[in-house]
């Protein structure tokens, strides 16, 4: 590549060439995993049902129906309400975790993650047991009904809470103690410190959390489908078109419409992220909270309340998995865990899920971390790196349904040399990695931005190839982030439904899909049981991670100690 001014061409070292080749390879891979499959579906938006090109006709017909406007409005409404509830809630919770002296902090932190481990079916079932017509706490809703916007919002709050808490915990944990000392010295009131130091410090975290929650709610159809009632949202519109009427053209149109707000949200996030980097690289002195009775008591009670709500939903699902027939025969049984009775694949689908999740964790982590590194550290080559960045951001804005169908159209095309992948475990792994690419990529990028930017320059001056510095220095330093990505992928692979439901083959049915099928067959208790097994698996993996972190990796990371 020549630099801006003609006349000077900077030669490329072997490292540069290798890294550029890596970026090209990565871009190609992402194109195959994301870009082309998405296009394969979205292009149908310009065709009629027989595959004839019709230009914008489908768009015109869709935009001229009043239903679109209503669905779009509903989507925005649910997303806004959920965001308005989740973000303050998560902020207080994250504040409690990072800025107060909380007894058994690790436990509260663990509990806040539970919703991530659960398939979205689980809160659906639990909410019906809790607030449905026969529910224990039906009275709490007054005249309202769980079927509709109330139910969607409650379930979405549950589902989005850990995402927002994770982001805000990170944002609040990186605070600079010196600012608080300065404020103290200046005799600022607590209120004033909160509004002038704490909030601005977490500003980017707050914006990020709000955008992530907003996008999650916009693209999720599982919850809206199960307890949404008549409340139409854009994501269920896609479902209606694609699953209800097998109308891929209109499905593609709605999918494209759905991309717009989500893409916009992510554009804002990009801008914010860019500014945040500077914030993190400041030489901060970590803040260690000092005990303060009244404050600590308040936040402990708050955390207890939130944890109780989360545990109530999980507990309800566990209990629901142990009863014979809701609500008319509440005697207990373990029969619901004998999955062979409800699904011909029995426990096989569970082991398939575990294998798939492990595959996605290994393949995805290697790809995401190496990819983020290549994209961060390659010198020049701006265009190609921009392409990678764009592709990496795409999946967050894409409903799984759209991606899954796109995979069929793309990978199953008879002239695609990759169609040997179709109907194998491989395609499930690839699809899952693609589906969850954005967050992993962001995590890796953030971790890479936090380490010294000059490692590569030092290696070049010492004539050490970059890949060596990557394996010997960069990757070991980022080990915590790498493990986080792996866990994130594992956990999501265990629960994902919307995309893989189109892609499994007879031998590769997944537990999360089986749970949906079992629930559809009316065997709610068995579906709850399968969900519980999934939650426990993910929780066990996370617990193993924490324990390993404490004992094993502590030894690997002696160098962190001062």
């Amino acid at each position: 590549m020549s630099l801006a001014v003609p006349g000077l061409r900077i030669g490329l070292s072997r490292d540069d060439l290798m890294m550029r080749a890596g970026v090209v390879l990565l871009a190609g891979l992402l194109l195959v995993m994301l870009g082309l499959p998405l296009w394969a579906l979205l292009a149908k938006g310009f065709e009629d049902r027989d595959g004839k090109f019709v230009g914008l006709a489908n768009y015109i017909s869709y935009f001229s129906t009043p239903a679109l406007f209503q669905s779009a409005l509903n989507s925005l409404q649910v997303a806004s309400i959920t965001t308005a509830i989740v973000v303050p809630l998560a902020f207080l919770y994250a504040y409690a975790l990072t800025r107060t002296v909380l007894p058994m902090r690790w436990l509260f932190q663990g509990i806040s993650l539970i919703p991530i481990f659960a398939p979205s079916l689980l809160p659906g079932i639990a909410l019906i047991y809790l607030f449905g017509t026969q529910g224990f706490f039906k009275a709490l809703l007054g005249d309202g009904s769980i079927y509709g916007i109330d139910g969607i919002v409650i379930a979405q709050v549950f589902y989005c809470f850990p995402h927002a808490t994770l982001i805000l915990t990170t944002a609040l944990a990186t605070a600079d103690a010196r600012l608080y000392e300065a404020a103290d010295v200046l005799g600022a009131s607590k209120r004033r410190v909160f509004f002038t130091v704490t909030l601005p410090g977490a500003k980017y975290g707050l914006i990020s959390a709000a955008l992530v929650v907003f996008t999650l709610v916009m693209t999720d159809f599982g919850i809206a489908k199960v307890i949404g009632g008549n409340f139409n949202v854009l994501a269920t519109d896609v479902y209606k078109k694609v699953i209800g009427q097998q109308d891929f053209s209109m499905g593609a149109v709605v999918g494209m419409v759905l991309l717009a707000p989500a893409a916009l949200a992510f554009l804002v996030d990009r801008l914010v992220q860019r500014k945040q980097v500077a914030l993190l690289t400041a030489r901060a002195v970590p803040l260690v909270p000092r005990p303060k009775f009244a404050r600590d008591l308040f936040f402990t009670l708050f955390c207890l309340l939130v944890s109780a709500a989360i545990l109530a939903i999980l507990g309800m699902a566990i209990w629901g998995s142990l009863i014979k027939y809701w609500p008319y025969n509440l005697s207990l049984t373990l029969d619901n865990y004998d999955f062979a009775k409800f699904d011909s694949n029995g426990w096989d689908s569970y082991w398939n899920s575990v294998r798939m999740a492990l595959g996605a964790a290994v393949f995805g982590t290697v790809l995401m971390f190496t990819g983020a590194w290549l994209n961060e550290k390659t010198r020049g080559f701006g265009m190609m790196r921009g392409v990678v960045q764009f592709l990496a951001f795409l999946p967050m804005a894409v409903p799984g349904l759209v991606l899954g169908l796109g995979y069929i159209f793309f990978f199953n095309a008879p002239n695609n040399p990759l169609n040997f992948l179709y109907a194998t475990m491989g395609i499930l792994v690839v699809n899952t990695v693609a589906h969850f690419y954005t967050v992993g990529h962001l995590t890796a990028t953030t971790a890479l931005k936090q380490i010294d930017p000059e490692f590569e320059a030092v290696s070049a001056s010492l004539k050490v190839p970059v890949w060596r510095t990557f394996t010997r220095v960069t990757a070991p330093i980022c080990l915590p982030a790498i493990l986080d990505i792996a866990i994130y992928l594992f956990v999501n692979a265990m629960t994902t439904v919307s995309s893989v439901i189109f892609l499994y083959a007879p031998d590769t049915k997944l537990a999360s899909v089986a749970a949906v099928n079992i629930e559809e067959a009316g065997t709610t208790a068995a579906a709850a049981a399968l969900c519980v097994v999934i939650v426990l698996t993910s929780a066990a993996v996370k617990a193993a991670h924490l324990i390993a972190d404490r004992f094993l990796f502590a030894r690997l990371q002696v160098w962190r100690r001062r």
């Binding site: 009904s145 109330d150 097998q246 199953n412 099928n517």
Partner: protein
């Protein structure tokens, strides 16, 4: 000493078994693996597979099972490079569309002539062959009815009475085939104008249009709702599990839909697929269907599965399948305009 002899014998036996297995394995490999796409109920899969494989030991069934919409969407999306060998148990309306798109391999199974003609595609050779009919009826929760002192309805007309306000659920026709056949039946029984007027009135009593044909009866069974309009089989199976449910057949008649078998064009296992198509049309197969469905294709094998009202054939409306297919887009558009999304619960 004795122990050791036993041990040695066991080892020998094991080795022999291993050798046999080794010899036998090529035989396993010769088995044709038939990929079958289906929307049959989960608990039907095993008995169906076992029964067929017992009669056809060289063929092994590999199921891809999901809800009707997902399976249909998958089949249509795979159109250019089909992965399914055969469809066994999918709604006739979906399969009919695939036939019109040339996605099916026409084949008249041996013994098709013995079937009730209503269950055949009418083409020669047949594009699809029916197995059973399922109905959209009314599931009434007697326990909740007693609590609220609500009478059991006996007709569609009963359902628009104000006492059922907010206590009825039915499938959303835009997302569920069952939903569509239900409203198509009303439009056919009552005529279009009266049909829409009926739905206007019914809309006042509807609590929710659900994105599933089976969920309404399940919700009624669990007391979430008093009344569910939806799939008969699910109502019956919930009742078997102990739900206080009554399956009501409205006297005006019922909408229905066929579940069918069809060979997918382009299959690499055409012979095996034909064998399955033959078997699926046999009396033996129909006897198996009759365990869960009250109405099957083979005349005379009809028995009544547990918890079904008797004589259901009599109340099936005269269903013009072609009319249903032709008018689908128009009716759904009209339905969506009238009822969908308008009824969002008021935000409190």
């Amino acid at each position: 000493m004795i122990d050791r002899t036993i041990l040695r014998r066991a080892t020998l036996a094991g080795a022999a078994a291993l050798a046999m297995f080794g010899l036998a394995s090529p035989a396993f490999a010769q088995k044709t693996r038939l990929t079958v796409y289906t929307a049959l109920e989960n608990d039907q899969l095993d008995p169906f597979k076992k029964a067929f494989e017992a009669d056809n030991p060289t063929i092994e069934i590999a199921w891809v099972r999901d809800s009707t919409g997902v399976v249909a969407a998958k089949l249509m999306a795979e159109k250019d490079n089909p992965r399914a060998d055969i469809i066994w148990g999918l709604a006739a309306s979906n399969v009919g569309l695939m036939a019109s798109m040339g996605m099916l391999e026409p084949y008249t199974p041996a013994g098709a002539s013995a079937l009730n003609p209503m269950f055949l595609s009418g083409k020669s050779p047949q594009t699809w062959v029916g197995m059973d009919a399922y109905l959209s009826l009314v599931c009434f929760n007697t326990a909740e009815g007693k609590k609220g002192n609500k009478p059991v309805p006996t007709s569609w007309a009963d359902l628009i009475k104000p006492e059922y306000k907010g206590s009825i659920v039915m499938p959303n026709p835009a997302s569920s085939g069952t939903g569509y056949l239900t409203i198509a039946a009303w439009l056919q029984i009552m005529g279009e104008e009266a049909g829409w007027k009926y739905m206007d009135a019914l809309h006042q009593n509807i609590a929710q249009y659900i994105h599933s044909g089976s969920a309404p009866c399940v919700q009624a069974a669990k007391g979430e709702r008093l009344i569910g309009i939806g799939l008969d089989t699910r109502g019956a199976s919930e009742k078997t599990k102990g739900a206080p449910l009554e399956l009501v057949v409205p006297k005006e008649g019922l909408g229905w839909e066929l579940e069918v078998t069809a060979i997918v064009k382009g299959t690499k296992n055409l012979d095996a697929a034909k064998k399955l198509a033959d078997w699926a049309a046999s009396k033996k197969a129909n006897e198996l269907y009759a365990k869960t469905y009250p109405i099957v294709a083979y005349p005379g094998v009809a028995n009544t599965p547990p918890n079904y009202p008797p004589n259901l054939e009599k109340v099936m409306v005269k269903n013009d399948v072609e009319w249903m297919a032709k008018n689908r887009d128009r009716i759904l558009a009209e339905w969506t305009k009238r009822y969908d999304g308008k009824s969002a619960p008021k935000a409190k």
